[in-house]
Symmetry: D2
Subunit: 390 residues, 4 copies
Amino acid sequence: MIAIKDKYSKVRKRSEDICSTLEKEDYVVQPIVDVSPPKWHLGHTSWFFETFILVCYVEDYSSFNPSYHFVFNSYYESLGARVIRTNRGNLSRPTVDEVYEYRRHVDVAMDKLLSQPVSEELHALIILGLNHEEQHQELLATDIKYILGHNPLFPTYEEILNPIAVDTATNEFITVKDSMHNIGYDGNGFCFDNELGRHKVFLPAFKIAKNLVTNGEYLSFIKDDGYKKHEYWHAEGLDWVKNNNIDAPLYWHWIADQWYSYGTAGIQPLKMDQPVAHVSYYEASAFAAWKGMRLPTEFEWEAMCNQFPWGDRWEWTGSAYLPYPGYVRAAGAIGEYNGKFMVNQMVLRGASIVTPPEHSRPSYRNFFHPHLRWQYTGIRLARTVNTDDL
Amino acid sequence: MIAIKDKYSKVRKRSEDICSTLEKEDYVVQPIVDVSPPKWHLGHTSWFFETFILVCYVEDYSSFNPSYHFVFNSYYESLGARVIRTNRGNLSRPTVDEVYEYRRHVDVAMDKLLSQPVSEELHALIILGLNHEEQHQELLATDIKYILGHNPLFPTYEEILNPIAVDTATNEFITVKDSMHNIGYDGNGFCFDNELGRHKVFLPAFKIAKNLVTNGEYLSFIKDDGYKKHEYWHAEGLDWVKNNNIDAPLYWHWIADQWYSYGTAGIQPLKMDQPVAHVSYYEASAFAAWKGMRLPTEFEWEAMCNQFPWGDRWEWTGSAYLPYPGYVRAAGAIGEYNGKFMVNQMVLRGASIVTPPEHSRPSYRNFFHPHLRWQYTGIRLARTVNTDDL
Amino acid sequence: MIAIKDKYSKVRKRSEDICSTLEKEDYVVQPIVDVSPPKWHLGHTSWFFETFILVCYVEDYSSFNPSYHFVFNSYYESLGARVIRTNRGNLSRPTVDEVYEYRRHVDVAMDKLLSQPVSEELHALIILGLNHEEQHQELLATDIKYILGHNPLFPTYEEILNPIAVDTATNEFITVKDSMHNIGYDGNGFCFDNELGRHKVFLPAFKIAKNLVTNGEYLSFIKDDGYKKHEYWHAEGLDWVKNNNIDAPLYWHWIADQWYSYGTAGIQPLKMDQPVAHVSYYEASAFAAWKGMRLPTEFEWEAMCNQFPWGDRWEWTGSAYLPYPGYVRAAGAIGEYNGKFMVNQMVLRGASIVTPPEHSRPSYRNFFHPHLRWQYTGIRLARTVNTDDL
Amino acid sequence: MIAIKDKYSKVRKRSEDICSTLEKEDYVVQPIVDVSPPKWHLGHTSWFFETFILVCYVEDYSSFNPSYHFVFNSYYESLGARVIRTNRGNLSRPTVDEVYEYRRHVDVAMDKLLSQPVSEELHALIILGLNHEEQHQELLATDIKYILGHNPLFPTYEEILNPIAVDTATNEFITVKDSMHNIGYDGNGFCFDNELGRHKVFLPAFKIAKNLVTNGEYLSFIKDDGYKKHEYWHAEGLDWVKNNNIDAPLYWHWIADQWYSYGTAGIQPLKMDQPVAHVSYYEASAFAAWKGMRLPTEFEWEAMCNQFPWGDRWEWTGSAYLPYPGYVRAAGAIGEYNGKFMVNQMVLRGASIVTPPEHSRPSYRNFFHPHLRWQYTGIRLARTVNTDDL
């Protein structure tokens, strides 16, 4: 039980560490619907443990505040009414201090629960809760960046970042012949239900890049008027570009004839050799088309990811987010975790510089709508090759 | 100069007093476009003194932070770009502490300026700035109520309120014969430019109520299905009712077969003899029609207001907000204060329980769009009478 | 009875004459919500006679098609469900031929009814129906212009127009001293209920232009960048200009370095000495401010209109559309004619080149939302003067 | 050349036959953005031949009307400005007669061109143009149904329908073991570029239904409150249901305690044994989940479609519309045909009762956004099976 108790407290602490240099005001705002207030993340992840574990497994558990159930439910229809997502940024209460008190309350109860032997079922739920919290840590990092990066004062801030492995290698491709692969999680550890149902996939011959596309390479696309050349874009992508006056990745600023980007150090000159980040699927796809290539499928990525470095950027794939063969939604509220989102979103593979350590694996499937780009989303190139040419 | 210096510090202090029991988080949010974050009000009123007075009248004045000009400009086109109104609630920075520092910075400079002799022109500007700040004090009070009253935790709070003069008199009307009246400000003190241009208005005979409509009277309208009887409503009012599922004034809640309303003490049973508040023009007008009467015009109100008690509720009138004959917009940014809003809004007369003392007068013209009701808006009845019957 | 029978058939015929050169397709479309399909106007005006007269006064009247009640009700809540206004252009059926058959059906029944003695009450209803139809004739003319003028083929068409009385006189003003006037309808003929309640109004001294503003004068405003100078605009007007990229009156086109306008003859070079038409209240008001003047109030207009030519353009006034003192909504569906629109609209006075002959009078009050300009709306200037200067 | 000339005239005639019983008014309206006016389809398909063939291959070709290029371009960015899609229903001109004249003009020129020897390249373009027109014939049929089926008069109409093969067989499933399949077009005839790039796909064992889901089966889902059980729905599907008050397939009406549906014969009692039609992907997917199954992938469908009857309903698959490996967009305007729509849409396979004869094939890929249902969209069930159980 030591292991799970330690893991619990380590993961929980990390969420608070991410927020440790924030001002109270930073915890409150929600500038766009996709970005939740940091205090909401802190409360919601605690609510998850309270709702799915403490209420069910601790006989005399006393809720910190029954109204929080309404405030911190994210999207679980099975669990009743909730504050609608667009309104999270309208709530000044509970205060940040109260949310931290709430975390203490939950942590004390969990600590007590974990001091006793834990059933396999409960263990699985806790691990799910911790993985859930790690997902929110990633969102915390990107939401904080969005909140501060869209403030006209462009404040600097601290962030728990993994180091970026900028690879100096030239733009090499790995060539893969026609071949059969096993896709999906295959281990004894934790994974989400959308990774299950390991199954065979046949992949026609292809090439996949060893490195991610850099800021410098993406800049060439911009300079070639890539945002204006309709032939590289999806029709809906072009509409998105026009309606939102998009002409560069998020956080890029053109100031006094030079490109800058916003990050923890505030506004800084763009680093050309870093992997490009904060692009939408539409942009990633248009860039690839401009290069005469395409994005890899999620299967190509998973099959080959042991042969190239990854983990700096969430990488857009050309695969829509759909269930694997034999996917079954779990019963009850836990079943609302993944399956109900399997439409109109694209799969991302890998991990990013704000992904918690040990939270990524080759079979991990992330997913976002194609226009979103507040995550550290990047681009890896691929293309189909003629088998006869190999 | 003592007088103006004292008045300055007294008014400025009052803004901060209104916020004195808020949590930091309460200062930040903007649940609807009309409700600004309290810290924005505190910053904007300081910006007003900085921009219109300190920058112009203090030779070596050094701005607290030049970016604040962009953050705290409300709507002055003459003064350049600004944060758009709908985005005020997305700004976590400047922090509440920084905004208070900003106030200190401005106050110190103003204090120094006011320690010397003050020209008439400068005096007038300061008085304008203080009246401007008092208007924002009223908004501060109602915006705080909105922020807390729409929080699912319904927190209690403190507020600087004037006492409500509940009048026990029966529902008497004052009768006025055909008569000529002088309308508009007529004194030596301060008034806004929309009150100027004192002019004669002829009023056909009418009756005007001595008292405001009470919660109890308004409840009768609800019980009679008033919200569903189209014959009492403007077409746009009925659309507003249907699209927003309106069935009672703002802050009224129907809980367990009883009406409650939200206020400083949290959710409390509705007090029937208090004047109704937080109704839109559409509701005020429909209620009056249901009573077989109408709202008074702003001229009827001003002509007779010395004969009935007022000051608890801003009172909707049946007059559209339009310029008086001979109204001229002032040159420059100051000219954007009133004139550009003279379309699509209705006039309110009187004052409310959160109006600062000495901030009201018979000629004062407030104005809002007809669907708004987060102010303490109430109803006084009137009707036209046949002269021959008098 | 001859008189009313003749008037009936004359007015009814005029509606069809207006449409006589249309293609069937022109009868069907609704390019914006304010513009109804011509066949809808033809059906709705017949429905008015059927619903308010034939159904009530003809014992054995048999409806042409009961479903038409749903199709051709415009906005009468008292009369049940209806096709919502935005959907009128989605209805291909009833066909144009069927609508004309419907008119024949109604006309035959009316003809029979009018061959017998008619009570005073019925007579009044018929006159109301005919005035209602004349209002729709004006809309028919402007809606047809909108439909064809927004077609990329810019077809020519014929229209029943009154001649424009272009006045060559110089820009003279009539001066009026402080004076009392009687406002509202004062006769034995027909008027709408919003003109009733004749009452005294005191008018401070003012000047009012004898002539309307011309295209040439309005062009000077454009050339002086009037659309970009915020100081002349209402805040909501400026938003409207920006959001809709407005830079000239409706139907003006800048082609190959020259201004053209669209009319019955298609696209033609702009005639500088004609009165400007198709401007919104916002534009009219901004133009007046740019000239250092204002629009006349509806009372100033009515008081003086016997001293200047009018009838070419509906003239925006600076008066909001509000009830006269003592205005009472009629009971039943007829009561929905005017009162429920008395908010958020501005009054227009006069008449336009497409107003049916004998349909205008000094007390006539038209009204539109301030952004609308598909009517022949124009500008007359006025200003307040200091009595002492007279 | 006879063959292509005959085929041309046969296909072109069919478009006009579909419209032969329409009233002129039916040709004009566009009740929702997805439904184009019939006259627009007739013009656009002619514009396709004019733009891609006559202008390029006939030296002295004289355009019928150069403005039509602007009016009838659908979405080709390469070809310049165009009437935006939402405005098609606002165009009363060109008239229906003029559109038919335009067709004559194009047909005469094509006839002349086809009387001479035709190059392979030209032949391919003509075949593309005819397939394009056949696609629009399908849309013509469904758009006409939408226009008339949403008219409050519910008119009857004639339509060129293929007979429905109602299969009386019981609900049998075909079982398929783990197996490799070739997917994509493999012949010498015509296909669209999205079918090309024939490639191997490995399919894990599955079962697929021989018959389509019937109205009767779908009704059971409704009776079991299927539209309210969130566990069967995608989150975006549930939002769509709630926001649009969806409780049955399109064209179903609940009248006097009985279900009816609208079709060529007007409103008729629902036929229980007919395949359900006019459901969205969300509904199809929720129904399958309620049955404990799923929709087939497009690969499962293509691999097995020679073993079950199809052609009555377009069948939603569980596959997102994405390019096949090695898909390359053609250069120029022709390249805008398919690739730019490959995001946010789901694949449909099969054909429907309004698909032109010979226009379908096993590799044909249709695609729509998941909320759309004005096509004859139906449901076939499938499920993954455990290989070991076989």
